[in-house]
Homo-oligomer: 296 residues x 4
């Protein structure tokens, strides 16, 4: 299939490479010439604009940092909507707020195009390995139609409901993630201060009611889980600033529907404290430093 792909960052580049490997023909655009060249070297065609990337494509995929970028990429004079053929579906894998996803769906519909929001989980590792989970918002028929494209980049393609619900799923999951990590960090640091061995405590939690991904897979205390970022200096995982962005999406979404988000709002401030002291690039499990009195 002929696919236009816009956004070749840390996530977008490996995703596009996997589409090439899956045998698709890609026309790509990114503001970085270097990023485009990497894809061109792998067989993609370089485009001069999002419009050019969309021209002639049977599918358009966008993977961008925030809603503002998606809006520009879609609606600018040289944007996707200006170049895309009628009837072609736009797949936006950016993590953005659900309201913007719905707005983009409406913009696409006005232009004669279908739109699905399809944010991912799995990180850069999953993007490289082609094992991402896609959370898809759009009609059941649309979901079925995009599966063959997404299966070139991921393993689990989950239908969440109508347009925007892919983002809802992503945001709600990451809200839980941000809260549980803060809670596990608090408890592991408390246990240390109270004199229990951290591996013993981790082991108990992971076989009891405190069990969670933040404890059994990504435990923030160094040495409890050897493969976790905490065991390699909090490098190479999901950055604090990215978690902060997602917590912001969650509390903003809560505000939009008049829901209190007590736990999320507090966790957000804790990640913010990490970011403001200069630790925004560390894996988000480094939040335990706030509890263990480790300076940045």
């Amino acid at each position: 299939m002929k696919i236009g792909f816009v956004g070749l960052g840390h996530m977008g580049a490996p995703m596009a490479l996997n589409l090439l490997k899956a045998g698709h023909a890609l026309t790509v655009f990114d503001l970085s010439a270097e990023a485009m060249q990497t894809l061109a070297d792998a067989g993609a065609t370089k485009a001069a604009s999002p419009k050019a990337a969309a021209a002639g494509a049977e599918w358009v995929v966008t993977m961008l940092p925030a809603a503002a970028h998606v809006r520009t990429v879609l609606t600018a004079e040289d944007g996707v909507l200006a170049g895309i053929a009628k009837g072609v579906t736009i797949i936006d894998s950016s993590t953005i707020d659900p309201a913007s996803a719905k707005e983009f769906g409406a913009l696409a519909a006005n232009n004669g195009n279908a739109f699905v929001d399809a944010p991912v989980s799995g990180g850069t590792g999953g993007a490289a390995a082609g094992t991402l989970t896609f959370m898809v918002g759009g009609s059941a028929a649309l979901y079925e139609s995009v599966k063959p494209v997404l299966s070139g980049m991921g393993k689990n393609i989950v239908h969440c409901g109508e347009t925007g619900t892919g983002q809802v799923a992503k945001i709600c999951n990451n809200l839980v993630l941000g809260v549980t990590m803060a809670g596990v960090a608090e408890a592991m640091a408390l246990g240390e201060a109270l004199g229990i061995d951290s591996k013993v405590l981790g082991g108990i939690m992971n076989t009891s009611t405190g069990r969670c991904w933040s404890s059994d897979t990504y435990n923030p205390f160094p040495g409890v889980i050897e493969t976790a970022p905490s065991s390699r200096g909090y490098t190479g995982g999901f950055g604090t600033d990215l978690m902060l962005k997602d917590m912001g999406l969650a509390t903003d979404a809560a505000k939009s529907v008049h829901q209190p988000a007590y736990m999320g709002a507090l966790a957000q401030q804790l990640y913010q404290a990490m970011s403001s002291r200069g630790d925004g690039k560390l894996d988000f499990s480094a939040i335990i430093k706030l509890y263990r009195g480790e300076k940045s």
Copy 2:
């Protein structure tokens, strides 16, 4: 073995029954004559005081609501320490603060007795089924010695470290539990307000980074997990008031070692809000009512 058992409440009674079933000889004491009669009907001997229950026992087990009760049961004129033979080990399965556990360990030592703290997880269901997890604080030798007794009441007997660390493990695990449940409740209610199907959201969380016991086993949203208390009107699980007690132990323990407990302290207030509006007897997952606007 001859075992003295003090405290025949919702947890203590089924634990004592399992010890009888395992072939031990029990002498029991409780303030409730009815509770004592139930055990007597099953083959236990009734004692007139903790002292009498301890007299002649090879082991003494206590299962009481709070540290104050343990202190009284041990140190009163007709208490355990007055009746127990030198060298006999006291096993306290109450959930109390680690400092009190250490204090009781010292009191026992002064009396010529060993002491382990051995709080449990698994609830009344686990107590009845004999599948409790025991978190044992005491020397490695002591841990080995109490295993045969505890294995009559539970499945996992975990050594946590020196005296008091059993309580530390229990408290830290339940701190995580209280925080994750509040976080999952917040996210599930947010997802509902944003229009995603709750079973779909639960399914995504449970296979992604939001995965936790509070979501995949005990999800607070009705209908997501059919066996969870939320699917039967929040009855029959771990009561909000009990969670509140444990959150209080956690934040008090944090205070004692000068650790901040941001997330735990906030979750504690949310459970407190449930309790103060009259919902303290509901399962603690009913905290989602605060988010869904359900009145008590």
Copy 3:
């Protein structure tokens, strides 16, 4: 002086009336024909658009609900910037985020106009009485130049610094206000539950270190301050939804400069809880209902 005035809502209308009383000639615009007629009856000239209101004016004043409205009113085809003469100063009294204020300052400068942000405190009462406080962001010279206009609507005209700092002052003040009110509500409800007479407690706070506007002028407990909204059913003050908007501006501003806002974020969720249960129109001091167990 000839003044163009856009935005005749609960605050804007009495402000414009006071400018008329002060002897200025007003050309007004609002989306509500009724609001315009009220001003016309008082001597103002009706305009068909913001552009028309700005045409021929020596000063333009805007008083609108949020930054998005200000942006539209300034930049639309029939907006203020299209009609205003070069060199005329725009005074925006809306409460908006500081970044947008700076952006509007730059837009105005590009159009050959000066711009000050001049949000107010004092509420609808102060607007009617002409006793508002204006917090002015702009150069010292600009501040001096706008004083004669603002003094027709308010009593204190305070210079805060460069463009945007008027909004900063407003937002930071209201952040403190939202936090202190929540704190006073919590303490007054706690005192009640602990058995102290609320007037006695209020009296002690107001002469001690707990003294604050939220206690000595606007105490949330009914009957402590006879003139406070709490003593008249939480009606007629500063609505919960307005406080919620300001808390949102504060936490968003904190996010923009990577500052944690622990207390503000938590208070925001509490006001959100009030709003979500249907109490958003009550005075913000009604937050005490969350503590006293009063249903909406």
Copy 4:
């Protein structure tokens, strides 16, 4: 009058000295021989025990760190209750929990003595100057009877209600104080980050709805209030660890009556974070360091 005085710490010593200056005869006790000697040099009689200090006294005043000390001082074999004459009133000026105050009132009554709780505000400065505020819990008649004694040490003697309500007033006031200070610190740091001059911001707050003792008298930002501890390196005021103790009393009291204390519990964790990083001796307004990124 003959007064027995127990507890000659930072507060107790200057209070006792003022009683001497007022012409009373004092018999004093403290665990520190040095503290006793200071008072003896000023004319007091040294006692060998609380019992001895109470013997022959017409009034007994206690000023101790916490409820546990008061309990010991009253009930020990050589304690106050063992030495005091029937009918003599005990005045406890310690800051303790209301439930303990009631318990001590009952113990005194059983011993044939009256008891009032009379905690103070005003700090060591007010203790030295004799300008303390006393918050008195006890019957109206008792309140009248203790006024002549207390007026030797303070300026405002306020009747709060029955036994224990003096402590309630103190705790609730300090709950507000701890919350408002955290809120002001958050807002002043936010204002700084957003580019407003801190003196200007302080000035606006102090004449607007953000006005509070924590801002207009004790502003945490250096230089805003020249006489505040923040303007002299956060020395010499009300220590963070003391504030932490009072926040603990407040949240514990809230727990005892099943009241949520969201804001207080969060502020408590922030002061705890200051204490755990080694800043517990700094004035509590140093909490602003958490927001300004200042290391300890």
